[in-house]
């Protein structure tokens, strides 16, 4: 069986769902970040698959490049925030981040 569009989309769906579950269940802040990376990667798989198998052409690959760049930027800022939180609270547990609660 040659790989077709549906198989790529299924791989992207598995990555996306794993990322969402990882974001929802991990209490470690860095774990939540890893879930975000998985979600963005699933979206990238979809972009590249549509770029190969449909009339989208090269635009899908350009978009996946932008997603990669923005994911790197997001990881840098989120990591700085996590380090700041750790310096103030001596933990990285996201359940303890409740200072903004009314």
């Amino acid at each position: 069986m040659q790989p077709d569009l549906t198989s790529y989309l299924l791989v992207g769906a598995v990555l996306f769902v794993c990322g969402v579950v990882c974001m929802a269940t991990k209490r470690n802040g860095i774990g939540v970040l890893m879930g975000v990376e998985l979600v963005l990667n699933g979206a990238n798989v979809n972009f590249v698959a549509f770029s190969k198998y449909t009339a989208l052409g090269l635009d899908g690959q350009v978009f996946s490049l932008f997603v990669i760049v923005l994911a790197a930027a997001e990881a840098a800022v989120a990591l700085a925030i996590a380090l700041n939180f750790y310096n103030n609270h001596l933990t990285i547990d996201v359940d303890r981040a409740n200072k903004l609660k009314g």
């Binding site: 794993c18 802040g29 449909t54 090269l58 690959q61 930027a73 700085a80 380090l83 547990d93």
Partner: protein, 192 residues
């Protein structure tokens, strides 16, 4: 081709599942490397050689190193583990499975070939991407570079990406300054 696709797809999916179910942060980072690297292999198989190389360089080489630094810098005490309760894990797994089935059903239910022929009939047949003789250059490198400069010789109806490229570069500069400002060293307890 299909054997390689199966291997990479299985490695990507199992790596993602292992990221979810492993408890130690270092193991999560390792399985994330496996998953993202296999995804780069999938990109190579989909004729996106530059995107795959960028994925390996930026994601696996850059972002993952950043995350591992984060894991090391925020390591709590040796016996302190941050874990979710088993009931929450079960509920999250069930909801995740339901979500996965929903996405699978949606993806399988769409007639992609019919959509493609309809798109081509409405927008006209796009000219095939011109290939270059030098095989070491790859097929997508030059069109991607031209597209980021706003020139689209491969499909004249498509937009250029000069403005998003510039916005991304300024965004990266802002992120660099912001991250350095947020994570700068300061004494604890001197009023934020």
């Amino acid at each position: 081709m299909s054997i390689l696709f199966t291997i990479f797809a299985l490695a990507a999916c199992l790596g993602a599942v292992a990221v979810v179910i492993s408890q130690s942060m270092a193991r999560m980072a390792f399985w994330l490397v496996v998953s993202l690297g296999s995804t780069a292999g999938l990109f190579f198989l989909a004729d996106a050689d530059f995107v795959a190389a960028a994925q390996l360089l930026i994601y696996v080489g850059g972002t993952l190193v950043l995350l591992v630094f984060g894991v090391m810098l925020t390591a709590s005490g040796p016996y302190l583990k941050i874990q979710t309760s088993p009931a929450e894990t079960v509920v999250a797994g069930l909801i995740g499975l339901l979500f996965l089935f929903m996405v699978f059903a949606t993806v399988s239910g769409v007639d992609w070939e019919g959509t493609k022929t309809k798109m081509l009939a409405e927008n006209g047949q796009s000219t095939p991407t011109e290939k270059f003789d030098d095989q070491s250059e790859g097929d997508t490198l030059r069109p991607l570079g031209l597209a980021l400069l706003g020139v689209r010789p491969d499909s004249p109806n498509s937009p250029g990406y000069l403005l998003p490229f510039e916005i991304a570069s300024v965004h990266l500069l802002v992120v660099l300054i912001g991250a350095a400002y947020l994570a700068r060293a300061k004494r604890r307890g001197d009023g934020s």
